[in-house]
């Protein structure tokens, strides 16, 4: 019953320019609303306003609806074998140098630049408001007057951040290789490269979640979890824990935590969404859907994926090294 139809145009002049009818956007939005209602009620509803756990069911329902509508949406593209916008002509040469969808992706990435600029600027604003931790300055009883960055928490286990960085950089390369393979009519290679990209991306997310968990329980430092004894003159360099992180380093511990988790979390969410899109690409390439005539979608995804990678190139030094 709910299938897309091409509306026939009455005057017979141009059957190409029919308007598509699709229920997917409508259902996507309804599902999003259900998801948000579930999320808000699950975290802030109930008698005591701290969350009504029954609503997690509603949240999951909404998520499932979102996935379903996403599938319905891409169903329109599943069987396409060429660029859809070859019907859209451009009568002004200057703008004809870039395809419509690619242009759209670049503009969308512009908005994403604003997103991460905002996150980084909020971080920098707070970072600049306090001196960085140093044993030579008075940081207060709980080190609350100094900035004890996430970098300090993670320094001894930086290898994972480095692995993540390489994974992401490598995955950007594999996407480009997949695109070349498509242009060279090598569908099996396309699938292989896209799968490697997916694995690398998933590895990134898995490592990140594991890192987060370790940091949250402050497992990266001294196993005995000893706090710094200020009266005895200890400093973080002695591998003791800053007193304000005595209960772990999480986003409600301090502003260092909030900025770290929210920024890396937003980046991780973008990686996650990329992986979902990548799933579609892999499925389609698996049935040899990409070739010399039809590869633009890989290129579009590649643009997005490069951008996610670029953001990480900024996030990593700002939060892991500095």
């Amino acid at each position: 019953m709910l299938r897309r139809r091409l509306r026939k145009v009455s005057d017979g002049h141009d059957e190409h320019h029919a308007h598509i009818e699709t229920p997917a956007p409508f259902l996507f939005c309804v599902a999003t609303a259900i998801m948000f209602i579930g999320l808000v009620m699950a975290t802030a509803g109930g008698e005591d306003k701290t969350g009504d756990t029954g609503y997690w069911f509603v949240f999951i329902l909404g998520l499932m609806g979102i996935f379903t509508s996403f599938f319905m949406w891409v169903q329109d593209y599943w069987n396409l074998e060429g660029e859809e916008d070859e019907h859209i002509e451009t009568y002004h040469e200057f703008w004809a140098t870039i395809s419509t969808r690619k242009f759209g992706m670049w503009i969308f990435l512009l908005t994403e630049v604003m997103v991460f600029s905002t996150l980084l600027s909020a971080y920098l604003r707070y970072r600049a408001s306090m001196p960085d931790y140093s044993p030579d300055i008075d940081c207060g009883l709980y080190f609350e007057d100094c900035w004890v960055p996430a970098a300090d928490v993670i320094r001894s286990h930086l290898i994972f951040g480095v692995i993540n960085t390489f994974a992401l950089l490598l995955s950007s390369l594999t996407v480009v290789l997949a695109l070349y393979a498509a242009k060279n009519n090598n569908p099996k290679a396309v699938t292989r490269y896209l799968t490697v990209t997916f694995v690398l991306g998933a590895l990134f997310l898995a490592l990140k979640l594991w890192e987060w968990n370790e940091m949250r329980h402050y497992n990266f430092w001294d196993e005995s979890h000893n706090g710094c004894d200020i009266l005895a003159g200890q400093s973080i360099a002695d591998h003791c824990i800053a007193p304000k992180y005595a209960n772990g380093f999480w986003l409600d511990t301090s502003i260092e935590g909030s900025t770290f988790y929210i920024t890396t979390g937003m980046h991780g969410a973008h990686v996650f969404i990329g992986l979902i899109a990548l799933g579609y690409l892999i499925a389609k390439s698996n049935k040899d859907g990409y070739n010399e005539e039809n590869h633009e979608t890989i290129e579009l995804f590649g643009l997005y994926w490069h951008y996610v990678d670029l953001v990480w190139v900024f996030v990593f030094p700002f939060f892991y090294l500095y």
């Binding site: 145009v9 002049h13 320019h17 707070y126 909030s258």
Partner: protein, 773 residues
């Protein structure tokens, strides 16, 4: 004729039935004695040198614990114990007393009584504090970190008692510095503890079985709508002898195309209708505000103060995000492809997605009304009230979530329009040959792309603070002004986003009804682009009183003054267009001219507010409310109402009734100015914004405003009637009833399915002259 009479009576009866079925009830005060806010009580730590280091901020290291029974019975006396732990006293206790800890405790209802000499109650006060402080209360209270006292419950056990506690953890290390007083370097914290009576409910303060005002309205509308639907369906089943399935199927066949369309014309229509529907909902909220302000009222007289706070919050958010922007996107959706000679937008499915996020996002936004109160943080959502103590929960969370969806909608739509307008213009439509409405949308989408994501991130940070406890705005080291920077960096381009398309509409209408080209097309384009660019560097003028960097505030004053210049150019160009033309004074033209007048007034008050010394007096008073209503209603809404009158023939193929239109204009213009102009006076007299009640000396002016506001709302019914009446009975419009020049007038009314039979070519006036030779 008989059928219509029967149907009419049936509908009338069903409305009467539905209205009587709506449950009655009373609005509920918040459950907290309103007197608490005027209780003259000491700040808990006034004895410990405010302004001395950490004494400014509560510190979460200090843990307060008040042991209480589960609930109370009326009139009973209970012994409660307050315990303080954490803070420097744990690490650095006083070596040789005195002064280990201190407290101050007050309660909203009931009576407090000390039971030993560690606690005392100052004369003429109702709060308790520790002894051993000053002024000769002898006792050991200052040496303790735990105190007990008695509390006698009030006579009603269906209320909730709110205990407000301040606790101090003394820093023994500071004994020397403070000259033996031991009151420096202390950490303190405060907390609220709720104790419900046996028959009270803590959560949303409403007694079981009673509905809040907003719930009644929503349920009432629901009942009326469902009853109406039953009557219409039933009538049709009887009259046409159809089965229920057949009736449902025919309605489904009618509605399904609307749910699944990606045609810019249908989506545009959906946007416009949705936008105007929410405009009326927001208008009802506005009328609630004005009725509340009809005279000074106590809490709960008409609305509770908390309900009032939700009302003005939802009024602002609805009007900007659910009314103004959708109407703009609606006209843009419908007209841009027509004006540039394209068949549709670049990404039709994305267009549909952008639209449907709107009603669904709106529902999420309003969910607060079902859960104890809609968001009450003001449309600006200033932290830390919005990130912490906001009184409505989860209403404020729904407010945040709904706007996340609406922000996504605007961003994706902006991407769509930008690509369309740059890539899909017909032959001959170069950028400097686009109609000015198209240009206004082009500049607007740039503003959207660069500002909405910032707001979206700010909302995410706010949501993180509220839901996950992050400390962006709600911690002791957080900066509330960061929120203001993030919000207004979006917020100011936002108001230009809603006014620039209005400028575009005005340019079209004034040019068409002067029957001559717009005066100074090129300068109009450059003026809009300049306004767009400058709009990003003026946002600090909303923050003149915050104490932000003086250089920042000064620069922003300069740029704000500067942005008046391109705006003035546009106004003068419109007037010059009319000079030497042949002015037709029909409804769209009258609304446009009315807009020029009201927008000029709004612009002038904007210049007044741009000057920092004057803004210090006027900021956050009704003067600002008057200013932005003059530019938003008098600028945006009037222009788009004019746009409806102007493009209605194109969209429906029917002309609107001119007499009703003039009547609508006259009623609207007069009541609008009568309602909003006195707000300038009220503001100069000192009435602050967002006040639920006010000084009684301003009663007369406020009554005048309220009455005309209600009349202004009623005047819009003429417009609604005209829209529906003309759809059935309007004259045939023809392709170009107004003799406009842009490409939408070169296709039929309404346009065919694919908008143009053939993609047209826009000719230049010189080319056209050559052709006809």
């Amino acid at each position: 004729m008989n059928r219509i009479k029967i149907l009419g009576i049936g509908i009338l009866l069903s409305i009467i039935f539905a209205v009587t079925a709506v449950p009655t009830g009373e609005t509920n005060p918040g459950g907290i004695d309103p007197g608490i806010s005027t209780l003259v009580e000491a700040n808990g730590c006034s004895c410990h040198n405010i302004g001395d280091g950490d004494m400014n901020n509560p510190n979460s290291a200090v843990v307060l614990n008040l042991s209480m029974p589960d609930n109370f019975t009326a009139g009973e006396t209970y012994t409660l114990t307050l315990n303080i732990s954490g803070g420097p006293n744990d690490i650095a206790p006083m070596e040789n007393g005195p002064n280990m800890g201190g407290f101050m405790l007050k309660v909203s209802t009931g009576t407090l009584t000390p039971i030993d000499n560690n606690v005392w109650k100052p004369e003429d006060s109702s709060y308790l504090t520790h002894t051993g402080g000053e002024e000769g209360q002898n006792g050991d209270g200052n040496n303790l970190r735990e105190w007990s006292f008695n509390w006698t419950a009030p006579d009603s056990d269906s209320v909730v008692a709110e205990f407000m506690v301040y606790g101090n953890s003394v820093n023994g290390n500071a004994y020397e510095e403070s000259g033996g007083m031991g009151n420096s370097g202390d950490y303190w914290n405060s907390g609220v503890f709720l104790l419900a009576g046996q028959n009270a409910q803590i959560a949303d303060g409403s007694d079981y079985g009673e509905l809040s005002g907003p719930k009644k309205i929503i349920y009432g509308f629901g009942i009326v709508f469902i009853t109406l639907a039953v009557v219409v369906v039933g009538y049709r089943m009887v009259d046409q002898d159809e089965s229920f399935e057949e009736v449902m199927k025919s309605y489904w066949r009618w509605i399904y195309p609307w749910l699944t369309t990606t045609d810019h014309k249908y989506i545009g229509t959906l946007y416009i209708v949705t936008g105007f529907a929410w405009f009326f909902i927001g208008g009802v909220l506005g009328l609630l505000i004005r009725w509340q302000l009809y005279e000074p009222r106590v809490d709960g007289d008409f609305l509770t103060y908390q309900e009032y706070n939700s009302t003005f919050t939802m009024h602002g958010t609805t009007m900007i995000f659910m009314a103004a922007m959708p109407i703009i996107f609606g006209f843009a959706n419908y007209l841009i492809p027509l004006q540039i000679g394209a068949r549709d937008l670049a990404f039709p499915r994305l267009n549909s997605f952008g639209y449907w996020l709107l009603p669904t996002g709106g529902i999420v936004l309003y969910m607060g009304y079902f859960t104890g109160g809609a968001g009450d943080v003001g449309w600006t959502g200033y932290a830390p009230y919005s990130s912490g103590a906001s009184a409505t929960r989860p209403g404020t969370d729904f407010w945040v979530a709904g706007q996340l969806m609406l922000g996504a909608s605007s961003t994706l739509t902006a991407v769509n329009f930008l690509v369309t307008m740059l890539r899909m213009r017909a032959p001959g439509v170069s950028l400097m040959k686009m109609p000015l409405f198209s240009w206004s949308i082009l500049v607007t989408v740039f503003l959207l792309l660069l500002s909405i994501p910032v707001f979206t991130v700010a909302l995410i940070l706010l949501m993180a603070d509220r839901t996950f406890g992050s400390l962006y705005f709600s911690g002791p080291d957080s900066d509330p002004i960061l929120w203001q920077h993030l919000f207004w960096y979006f917020g100011h381009p936002e108001v230009y986003i809603v006014i620039l398309p209005a400028f575009g509409v005005l340019s079209e209408i004034i040019s068409t009804f002067s029957r001559r080209p717009i005066f100074g097309y090129t300068s109009m384009v450059y003026a809009m682009a300049t306004i767009g660019i400058i709009s990003f560097v003026v946002y600090g003028h909303h923050m003149f009183t915050t104490g932000a960097d003086p250089l920042f505030r000064f620069i922003v004053m300069l740029t704000t003054m500067l942005v008046a210049v391109p705006t003035g150019i546009k106004i003068f160009n419109w007037l010059a267009t009319m000079t030497g033309g042949s002015v037709v004074l029909n409804t769209p033209m009258m609304f446009s001219l009315g807009t020029i007048i009201t927008f000029t007034i709004g612009g002038i008050t904007g210049i007044i507010l741009a000057s920092i010394p004057l803004d210090i007096a006027f900021h956050d008073t009704y003067f600002v409310v008057a200013h932005f209503h003059y530019v938003l209603i008098g600028g945006t809404m009037f222009s788009f109402i004019a746009g409806v009158y102007y493009w209605y023939p194109k969209m429906t193929g029917k002309m609107m009734n001119e007499k009703l239109g003039i009547a609508h204009f006259a009623a609207t213009f007069i009541t609008f100015n009568a309602a909003f102009y006195p707000m300038h006076n009220v503001g100069i007299s000192g009435m602050p914004r967002r006040y639920a009640t006010y000084d009684s000396s301003l009663t007369e002016l406020n009554q005048f405003i309220s009455i005309f506001a209600i009349l202004f709302g009623l005047a819009q019914l003429i417009f609604v009637y005209n829209v529906f009446y003309s759809y059935r009975n309007g004259k045939e419009a023809g392709d170009n009833p107004w003799n406009g020049w842009s490409l939408e007038w070169a296709t039929s009314s309404p346009p065919p399915e694919n908008s143009f039979i053939e993609i047209p070519t826009l000719l230049d006036a010189e080319e056209e002259a050559k052709k006809s030779e």
